[in-house]
Symmetry: C2
């Protein structure tokens, strides 16, 4: 199959993106010849665009033509301008639709007592504070040695450990976020059971969890009460033997696809992220939304500049307003810390063909497909509903994915152009390469190659369908590359807010 | 030996502290009978104190008598007031002096190429970013399995991993602190060699370290360049085999005690911390300072309120001024985050016998003994000089100790009243119980029992001498309890400053 010379990201677009260098006179996918050389990643008009008309990419106005643009002409800073807040919003393109048969399909998952669906059957050993981390790891090591061989129905004992939990204010955002995150993991449907371990004198007291029904009283204890590290491990083994007895008997059963909750991530992006992997993931999310499942878009710092388009897709004014509130929070938060949320294309981005901030952020938003935005959630909040939702998180991958998993994501899909080493137990993480060079270099880490889009072997829609199927298979127990390597015990990084005292 | 009924913390004090409940008429250590019942932890006058006269505890004025106080009378809020900034500063007490023989003594350590002295011979596998954490752990696991048995002269391969390194501003305090901390570990004298591993696309680029001579070029690489997780582990094994060949031949040799650098920590404090373990550690620090070694006092939030007394002990005005600068920074920093640095005794503290903020903070400062303050350093900065120095850190133990180790601490001594589970490889951490109840409950975690002071079995000076000897033995290779359990791979927590993006 011949290389796709240029890619039209959405049927309503009036530009194509060059996939490799285009010589003058080369035909675009719609047959129009280029008028000049077009560099890789740069835009070229697929039809005439009149001065003042919107330039459409990702089915969205990314700016306005400052002069008449001919079909086949290079579109960039010389003839395209972005006017913040003054661009017409183009209605979203048509979301890829699942078939009627898709809507009746199931995956093989674990039904939990609270009604939610798990895609794995782990047991969690959760630290309230850094001071109980080494004991939590010793407990999970010992349980994986002594108990796991006895219970093949259990996927493993997973330590959930971190650097926080004390030396912090007992009230305020920092504590609220930590509490929500740990409680979200303790209750996660991929954990058949969980044991929380504290030191005893920390700010983040275990009683905050027991009282709220996160873990029953016999399923958490403090090392100081147990008489130290070794005794804590022995005490934990007794409790875990009981938990394992129960959890080890659980079996996968058919569960509607509507109970799949996919966290969307991108990290180590490259020029192809917004052209191959992210739109393909968006197509998979459209299919998932069509069967009633949930896709969680996040990384507020990376979608900044395109938030009004997400808001335009919101199903209610409240959803749009909530999103706007998070954007304002970030503007204040970054200003307070002397940091910048300004996502303007860098000189390197511009050389790569990105003209406007909106265009750049749309590449990230592309992971969310074209489906309406049905809800907006705070970091680590339990996500509910159906279709595409937004969760406010930083763009930093481990912190963002930790929030999504805390919110109930039972599958993560992570696109990367540079290559990512990531896993987030108890949730499987499917890693998607944006280009074949990366895929071939890091095949042992990458589950999907979206370089097949650039090579012309597959369309975005075809790859979206493949990813949708892989999500279902993964939810049903197929291991991801990162699970095979053993990722996920070190990537639990709850968002750190507030002063360390 | 009978229970010490009350403890006089310093010869110049005019109050004693009740050790358990004193009945009316019981004799204080100087023979004076109490006039009333004195509750545990509360103060009692050892001689008459006139109205307006300073009340002296820790050889320091903790406040002023508001009325005449008789010998044997209870001293608390009813007759003692603290006037911030208006208290006379009492010259420090006499520091415990080492003998002439002590000054000629050595410990058995490792002499490093940069001239510094190590107390352990580890090899570090250091992550630039959370994204390379799992690979760093896989590398150290594999090296401990394959290489360690071949080189008995190596103490082990230690992963130094964390949650930061990307999703952060490339400039500013957050990055400066992370860089200083990682560079400090890479250069730490307890590492005979180090290998740094990055992912490749992170903000915290490995080149920032190579360029500054932290690790030679062949001793750091990116996973993206190596071709993924498994290939990175294999590549690392080749490099580590070379490093191990060199490091495995190193031998301990006699090194002057002046090259011992002890980080002072307290966490999980109780009412006895400031009465037994901290003053005893202070006595050990006086001895260490007397032989030219370094003691690092830290935990700025915990000494707040007593900083003017530390400044009074400063050897130069610059040292005092630098300390003052850090205090002002904290006042701004906590205000910015809506947190409080106000260390005023809580109602529980008051019931326990603490009257003033100064008294409370002096209990923490007691770890620094009576010796002059010779230097003040920023978080993770390389400490230099001799005697007592201060390093600005939060009070949160793992974050504070990480800064001290980055600064070159080759021994940590950690006092605790509630029980602590802590280790900080590559540096051994001696754990000191403030009371016998804790020591007996968690004997497998505690190295020293300062309950022997409260029981009257030992004086503060005797216990200080014992700790001084244990520091020397530990520096020479004696394993601490936390090393025996395997602490230290999870307690590397660099201070998190700035916004996560
Ligand atoms: Ca990201
Ligand atoms: Ca292929
Ligand atoms: Ca070396
Ligand atoms: Ca502390
Ligand atoms: Ca004893």
């Amino acid at each position: 199959m011949s290389l796709a010379k240029a890619i039209i990201l959405s049927p309503s677009d009036n530009v194509a993106v060059a996939n490799g260098k285009l010589e003058a006179g080369e035909a675009l996918p719609n047959g129009v010849p280029t008028l000049t050389v077009i560099d890789p990643g740069h835009k070229v008009a697929t039809r005439p665009i009149a001065a003042g008309e919107a330039v459409i990419k990702y089915a969205q106005a990314i700016g306005r033509a400052t002069q008449d643009i001919a079909a086949g002409e290079h579109v960039h800073s010389q003839n395209l301008v972005f006017e913040a807040g003054r661009m017409p919003v183009v209605p979203p393109g048509t979301a890829l639709e699942p078939t009627e048969a898709d809507k009746a399909r199931t995956f093989m998952g674990y039904r939990r007592a609270d009604g939610r669906a798990g895609t794995r059957n782990f047991i969690g050993i959760i630290a309230s504070v850094n001071c109980s981390t080494t004991v939590c790891k010793a407990i999970s090591d010992e349980a994986n040695r002594r108990l796991l061989p006895l219970y093949p129905g259990i996927d493993g004992f997973v330590p959930i450990v971190h650097g926080q939990g004390c030396g912090m204010s007992g009230t305020g955002d920092g504590m609220a976020v930590l509490h929500r995150t740990l409680a979200g993991y303790a209750r996660h449907p991929n954990f058949g059971g969980a044991l929380m371990i504290g030191l005893g004198c920390e700010v983040n007291q275990l009683t905050l969890y027991g009282q709220r029904g996160v873990v029953s009283s016999k399923r958490h204890f403090n090392i100081q009460d147990a008489g130290g590290s070794r005794k804590a491990v022995e005490k934990a083994m007794e409790i875990l033997a009981e938990i394992a007895q129960e959890v080890g008997q659980l079996k996968r059963e058919p569960i509607p696809l509507s109970e799949i909750v996919v966290g969307l991530q991108c990290g180590g992006s490259d020029g192809m992220s917004g052209i191959t992997a992210n739109p393909a993931l968006g197509a998979a999310v459209d299919l998932l939304a069509g069967v009633g499942g949930i896709g969680i878009l996040s990384e507020t710092t990376e979608i900044y500049g395109a938030e009004h388009l997400l808001a335009y897709r919101a199903t209610t004014p409240e959803v749009a307003k909530k999103l706007d509130g998070y954007i304002k929070w970030w503007e204040d938060h970054t200003a307070l810390h002397g940091a910048s949320i300004d996502n303007n294309p860098s000189p390197g981005n511009k050389r790569g063909g990105l003209t406007t901030i909106l265009e750049k952020s749309l590449g990230a938003v592309a992971k969310g497909g074209q489906t309406p935005l049905t809800g907006v959630f705070g970091y680590g909040e339990k996500v509910t509903g159906h279709g595409l939702v937004f969760m406010d998180t930083p763009g930093y991958d481990p912190v963002s994915a930790t929030g999504q998993v805390a919110g109930g994501a039972n599958v993560i899909v992570f696109t990367t152009g540079r290559g990512s080493c990531f896993g987030c137990r108890p949730t499987p993480s499917i890693k998607v390469a944006t280009n074949s060079t990366l895929y071939n270099a890091m095949e042992e880490d990458m589950d999907v190659n979206c370089g097949d889009i650039a090579s012309g072997e597959k369309t975005i829609e075809q790859m979206g369908r493949e990813m949708f199927e892989l999500i279902i298979e993964t939810a049903s127990g197929r291991k991801t590359k990162s699970e095979e390597f053993g990722y996920g015990d070190n990537e639990f990084v709850p968002w750190h807010l507030g002063a360390t005292l």
